[in-house]
């Protein structure tokens, strides 16, 4: 072993020098950590950058969640030689409290969600799936719909037109905007989606969940008021109420005009003949009476 000689003449053994270096290194590193509290205190963070809280995701599109992490490395769990630590792991995704997805990379999470309101929660976990201590999670609330994300729904009755005279059966065509028809099967309400209900004189006649023409049959004679109303999946009216109304006239049953007209015409003709005959008879009687008076 080579020994160094100290310049001052004092002999310093190598192991003492190594000890001194080690202690200095330890003190230096610890001192650096203490001197820079931000480094020591900075724990893992997680934030959802998109969508914003309360976002309405329309047209039945999946929800795309963008997130950022810091002071934490996303890795594949269970890899060979894995070392479990508080600064690496993955992201567990929960939708409405239920475990839904795992993200091992910082990339958009695509979540196809059914219509309605949902809470998406992201949580950092270590490689074996345990939550960090303290827990690092974030959540966002979104509303998904098959309809458009924005806009005010409207409805207009295209046919029949107001005051139209119709028979007892009538097709009802509506025109809507900012609203999507879906089959109502008990799903939650969602903005701008639902179906239409047809009322006759205020009484519900049909639920139409397809963008199709309604057909109302056997309408009573006279004025009939048809109302088409947009409703939610649970059949409640929208807020504010969106409806359209049209009043039509259903022509009553008629008799055979031909027979009635012919009979009436013949009656008029016979009456005229009768009047003429009566008039002529009276004139004839007057003439006969005059001839009898003049005859001695």
């Amino acid at each position: 072993m080579v020994r160094a000689r100290a310049p001052t003449g004092t002999t310093v053994t190598p192991h003492r020098r190594a000890t001194a270096v080690a202690l200095l290194l330890l003190l230096g590193v610890v001192g650096l950590s203490i001197a820079n509290p931000s480094v020591a205190a900075a724990g893992p963070t997680l934030a959802i950058s998109s969508p914003a809280d309360g976002t309405v995701v329309g047209n039945g599109t999946p929800v795309v969640v963008d997130f950022v992490v810091s002071n934490f490395v996303l890795v594949q769990p269970g890899r060979v030689g894995e070392v479990v630590g508080p600064t690496e792991g993955h992201v567990d995704v929960f939708v409405d409290g239920g475990y839904t997805w795992m993200a091992t990379q910082v990339e958009p999470i695509v979540l196809p969600l059914s219509s309605g309101s949902h809470t998406i929660r992201l949580q950092l976990v270590d490689d074996v799936g345990n939550a960090l201590s303290p827990d690092v999670n974030t959540s966002v609330r979104v509303v998904t719909t098959q309809g458009p994300a924005g806009g005010v729904p409207t409805i207009r009755i295209v046919s029949p037109v107001p005051a139209q005279v119709t028979g007892h059966d009538v097709y009802v065509s509506v025109e809507i905007s900012n609203f999507t028809f879906v089959d109502a099967h008990g799903q939650p309400n969602a903005p701008n989606e639902g179906h239409v209900e047809l009322f006759l004189a205020g009484v519900l006649r049909q639920d139409l969940s397809r963008y199709d023409t309604g057909f109302m049959v056997d309408l009573p004679d006279g004025n009939n008021t048809i109302t088409a109303r947009l409703v939610n999946n649970d059949h409640t009216p929208l807020s504010p109420d969106v409806f359209a109304t049209v009043t039509i006239f259903v022509k009553g049953s008629s008799v055979s005009v031909l027979y009635e007209t012919l009979s009436g015409g013949v009656a008029v003709l016979l009456a005229a003949i009768l009047v003429v005959l009566i008039f002529r008879r009276r004139k004839a009687l007057a003439r006969v009476m005059k001839e009898r008076r003049e005859t001695p």
Partner: protein
């Protein structure tokens, strides 16, 4: 010498302390393993949603196929659906679009060249996919006609379905999915699978209509889910029948004709 070792130990411990490595847990080498976290076995996947599959491996590196040498500790996952290879994945989460029905999803660890590990490392789960909701009790109600209504000869029966999706019959039998049987006066009338109102044309008298939810095999649900309405049909109800003067005109014509004949006869007599 001892002091040197002690110094190295102290330095190592110090570095580990500041780096947080003191809390780490170095796993002992063990064979690769696979565990499916999602879906749970026999889960019902509603609304025809794609099936999310989440799994974890241990002692196995997931690598894209064709990116590395074949090794028993690295490779990807072969995904089998109902016995057929559907896809290969190298991530812990993916989705499967499955048709309505019961399916078996099997995940198997394979090496880069697609060869299964020895011994085989795989796990499977069964799922039931439905277009209906995953949970909830099905229900049906008749919104028109109302109970006890008096109706004309023909009309439409309108109804509301909840927690159940109507699909054409003939598909696999799954939860909360099926169609409607329309029963008029106790006799089968029609089956409906499209949410459209049902047209009925009935003779005068008392009638009843029953709408019953059935599965894809036409069997009633258990428990039975149906709704009925009783009503009376009166032809021409709600119609205004105008007075027909034809008969009166006929009688008048006869009287006029008689009067004319009588008048002519009396004129000849005179």
């Amino acid at each position: 010498m001892n002091l040197r070792i002690f110094a190295l130990l102290v330095a190592t411990m110090g570095l580990m302390f500041v780096s947080g490595g003191s809390a780490s847990d170095v796993r002992a080498a063990s064979p690769p393993a696979l565990s499916i976290l999602l879906p749970v076995n026999n889960a019902v996947i509603g609304n025809a949603s794609p099936v999310p599959v989440v799994f974890t491996v241990s002692n196995f590196n997931l690598t894209e196929p064709g990116t590395g040498p074949s090794s028993p500790n690295a490779g990807h996952v072969a995904v089998f659906v109902d016995g057929g290879l559907r896809m290969q994945v190298a991530v812990d989460a993916f989705r499967l679009a499955l048709a309505s029905g019961s399916h078996t999803i099997l995940l198997r660890l394979v090496m880069d060249n697609g060869t299964a590990l020895s011994p085989d490392v795989s796990q499977s789960v069964s799922v039931n996919v439905t277009q209906g909701p995953a949970t909830g009790q099905p229900g049906i109600s008749i919104s028109f006609p109302m109970e006890g209504a008096i109706l004309g000869t023909d009309f439409y029966v309108s109804y509301r379905v909840s927690n159940f999706v109507l699909v054409p019959p003939g598909r696999p039998n799954v939860t909360n999915e099926g169609h409607l049987h329309v029963i008029v006066d106790g006799s089968f009338y029609a089956e409906v699978a499209d949410y459209q109102p049902v047209h009925l044309g009935l003779p005068d008298g008392a009638h009843n209509v029953t709408l019953q939810l059935v599965d894809s095999l036409h069997s009633p649900l258990n428990p039975d889910v149906s709704a009925s309405a009783h009503f009376t049909v009166h032809a021409l109800v709600g119609r205004v029948i105008p007075v027909d003067y034809t008969t009166y005109f006929g009688v008048a014509n006869l009287a006029l004709a008689f009067a004319i004949v009588a008048l002519m006869y009396r004129k000849l007599e005179a």
